[in-house]
Symmetry: D2
Subunit: 244 residues, 4 copies
C-alpha cells in the first residue's frame, strides 16, 4: 500500500526548449527543477508530465494516480485540450490537490475553477519582490519568517481578478509600487487549490529555498484528506425523516 | 439621467406554457410574477426576457441597459447559447448584479461563475421549508424575522457543490431531514451574485411576501456601486515607482 | 421621522490640544475635520464626541441616536472607561456601524470586537503610501480608481494581527518595503465594522479627497439595514416542529 | 525530542460530581471519556485538567507543554479566573490549537476570541440531530459520510452570534425545526480554533464514533504547524527599503 503523496509536476516546457537563456537556468525544464527538490522529500513520490506528450501526459490513469498536481504554463494555454482540462477539473472537484504557479493564472484550468478572468497587471523589469506572510499559523507558512525576498522578479499586481481566496496566506510588495495577493488558498468541491505567484522563467526563482519551502508546504496542505466512496452530491433522494 | 435601478427578469418560460397546473399558478410566467411585485417598487425599472426570444432576449444592448439580471431556468439549461452565456458573464465581471433563482443552480452561467459542479440533493414531495436568517444585519435580511416558512417546497439539500459563499445569509431546514445554504452572496469581478434557493414552479412561492422581500433586498444589494472608467486589470504596465 | 443617517465622530482629542504642529493641521480637531466633510453630505447628520466629555460623550442616549460611530484614538486608549466600551460593543452587536481609523487599531473597542491583539509593524518617516483597491465593486470602493496615493504617511505593516476580514477592500504599499490590509470589513452581530488605516495626526490625510471618499462610502455601507424587534438570540425556546 | 501532539483536555467537571445520572454516563468525567479515546491514537499524548485544580490546572508550564487544548464548560464559566483566560488567549494567538465543545460556546475564552456574544437558541427535549458535512475535503471531515446522526441531543439553533467562520465544515439539522453551524473553524493569531456543537452532558455523545472522529480530526488540524522565533508583530521597525 502506497503511503506517499503522489505528485505530478506539469509544465508546458516550451520556453526551456526554444530560448537558450532560459534553458541555461532550467536545463531539465522548470518541471525538472521542481521535481528535483520535491524528490528529496521522503514522503513524496514525484512524476512529471508536459504539454507535448500524448494527452499532455495527463491520461485518466495518470490523474487517478495523482494526489497533487502542480501546473506551470505561459505561452501555450490555448494548446491544452479541453478534454484534458475537463479531466483535471473533475479530478480536482473529487479531491485532488492543485498548485497553480505564476503565469498559469491564465491557464484554462485555473480560469475554469475560479469562474473569473484571472487577469492582473504585470511588468518585467527584474525588480525586487518581497513576499509577506499574512497567516503565520497556516500550514503553507510553515518554516517561513515574517517575509522573504525574491531579488529579481516579474511584477504581478492588483487588481487580480479572482474570487476572494478562502485563505489569503501571502501578499507581495514590489519595488515599482504594486501589491499582489501572491499566495491564495481555495476549496473547490473536495479539492484544495493553491495559487503561488513567484516563478518567472527568466529568473532562477525555483532554486530559492523559501520558494521551495512554500511549494513543499503547499503539496502537503493540498493532499486529499478524505475517503468518501459516494458521489459528491446525491441527486434525487428519498426523505430521511418521515413526513407528518 | 436614469436614477432607477434597471432590472431584467429572465425566465426560460417553458413549464408555464406546457403544463396547465403550472400555468394556473403563474399565468403570466414566473418572470411575469416577479416583474409584477418588483414593478411596484418606485426605485426599480423592470423588463423581462425569455429563452425563445432572439438571442434569448439578452442582446448586447439589453445587457448594457441592465443593472441587475434575475435568472430562472430548469428544463432547458443546455439550450442557452454559449455566446449569450459569455456575454452575461462578461457583464457580471464588469459589475452587473446577478440573482440566480432555485433550479438555475444548474444554469450554464452560474456554473461558469462558480467554477464548480453546483450539484445538490433534491426531492419533490411538497414538504415544509424553514429559512433561517444567519446574517441578520445583511442588506438582504432587511425586514425579515429570525426565520420564515415556505409551506410546500422542493427540497434542495447539502452538500451543495459551490465555493463557500463570501457571505452566507440564509440556511434552510427541511422537514425530511436536510439543510441547505439557501441564500449565498458572491463577489465576482466587480459584480455581485446572489443565489436564492426557494422557487419551485409547482408551488406559488414567488407570491409569498418574505420571498418577495428577499428578492427586492437582493436587487438593491446587487446593483452596481462603482464608476470606474478603465478595464478591470491593467495588463502590461510601466513601474509606478522609479527603480533604484 | 428622521431619514438621515446619524453619524457620531469620536476623537480622543489630545494631540491637537497639546502639540502646536498638530493643532496647525487640525485646528478644530481630527473630529472637527471629519465632521466638516461629512456634514456636506445631504443624507448624513453629524455630531461629535471626545474623550474628556462626561462618559466620553457616549451616553446611552447618544448611542441610541447613532447609526454609525467613527472612532479615532491613539495616546489614551487605556483612559476609555470599560463601561463605555461595553456600551459601544453592545450597540455594535445590535446593529450600529463602526468605523475604526488608523491608530484606533489598538483601541479597547476594536480589540474587544476582533478578539485578537490587533498588533502591527509601524514606522514614522513620512514615506509614501499607495492604497490599492482589491474589491472594485464594493460600496466602499465607489468612485475610486485602481489606487490612490498618500504622499506622506505613517507606515502600518503586516502581519496585522486581526481575523481575516469578511471582505478585504484595500491593500496598501509603502515605500519602505511593507504591505498592509488597510481597508477591512467585518460583520459582528448585526453590526458592520470597517477598519481604515490612513490617518496619522501629523499629516493632513483627512483633507485628501480619496480618503474622504472612502470614509463617506464606509458610513453608507455601515449604516444599519434591518428592523428586527427581537433580541439577537433566543435563549431557551420551545420546538417549532412537533416531535414524533 | 517529542514528536507527539500534546493535547490537554480541560473540563469544568461539576455535573459529573453533583448529578448521579450524569456520573453514570461519564464516571471518569467528560474529560476522562475524551482522554480515553484520544489516548488510543499513537500520535497523541493526552493530559487532563479541571476547574477546581490550582490555576484550573492550566499553569504557564502546562500551557507551554500543550499543542492543542480542548475545552468543555457549562455551569461555571464565571468561575474561571481572568488571569487563566488571558494566559490561554495569549497561547492561542501564539499558535496553540483550541477546540471548544458544546456549551463552552459561552466560556470566557471563546467569547474573548470571537469578539461577539456567542449567544444561540437552545432546547433540551432529547430530539434527534443530523450533522451534515459541508466541506467534504476538509481535514476535519476525514472519514465521515455525507452526514451522521446523534439520536438524542440538546438543540442549539441559529442565529448563533459568532463571526462567520473562516471555514464552515458542519451544519446541523434538528427534529424540532432549527439549523446550526455546528462545526466552525477560525484562525486567530497563529492559532487554530474549532467549535463543535454536539456534547450535552446528559447524553452519551462523546462515546459515539463519528463524534470521536471529528474530535480526533480537529486535534490534528489544530496542531501548530510553524516555527517562528520572533514576536507576532514587530512594533516600531526601520525601513526595509532605502527611501529616495
Amino acid at each position: 500500500m502506497n503511503e506517499k503523496t503522489r505528485v505530478t509536476v506539469w509544465n508546458e516546457y516550451i520556453h526551456e526548449l526554444e530560448n537558450h537563456a532560459i534553458a541555461a537556468i532550467y536545463p531539465r525544464g522548470i518541471h525538472g527543477a521542481i521535481a528535483e527538490f520535491l524528490g528529496q522529500e521522503g514522503d513524496l513520490e514525484i512524476t512529471t508530465a508536459t504539454l507535448r506528450q500524448e494527452e499532455h501526459g495527463l491520461t485518466e490513469d495518470v490523474l487517478a494516480q495523482t494526489d497533487v498536481l502542480i501546473w506551470w504554463g505561459h505561452r501555450a494555454h490555448d494548446d491544452v485540450q479541453d478534454a484534458v482540462v475537463d479531466r483535471v477539473y473533475r479530478r480536482v472537484l473529487a479531491g485532488m490537490g492543485l498548485i497553480i504557479l505564476h503565469s498559469a493564472h491564465f491557464s484554462k484550468i485555473f480560469k475554469k475553477l475560479m469562474g473569473t478572468s484571472c487577469g492582473l497587471r504585470w511588468r518585467e523589469v527584474g525588480e525586487k519582490e518581497r513576499v509577506w506572510v499574512i497567516e503565520q499559523g497556516h500550514p503553507i507558512a510553515h518554516g517561513l519568517g515574517h517575509y522573504f525576498e525574491i531579488p529579481q522578479t516579474e511584477m504581478y499586481g492588483e487588481r487580480f481578478d479572482v474570487p476572494a481566496p478562502d485563505t489569503l496566506v501571502l501578499i507581495s510588495w514590489y519595488q515599482g509600487g504594486e501589491v499582489f495577493r501572491s499566495g491564495c488558498c481555495y476549496n473547490r468541491g473536495r479539492g484544495k487549490i493553491f495559487y503561488f505567484a513567484p516563478g518567472h522563467e527568466t529568473y532562477p526563482i525555483y532554486y530559492q529555498k523559501e520558494v521551495q519551502q512554500v511549494i513543499k508546504n503547499a503539496v502537503r496542505w493540498a493532499q486529499p484528506t478524505f475517503s468518501l466512496g459516494e458521489a459528491l452530491s446525491g441527486g434525487a433522494v428519498p426523505p430521511l425523516e418521515p413526513l407528518g
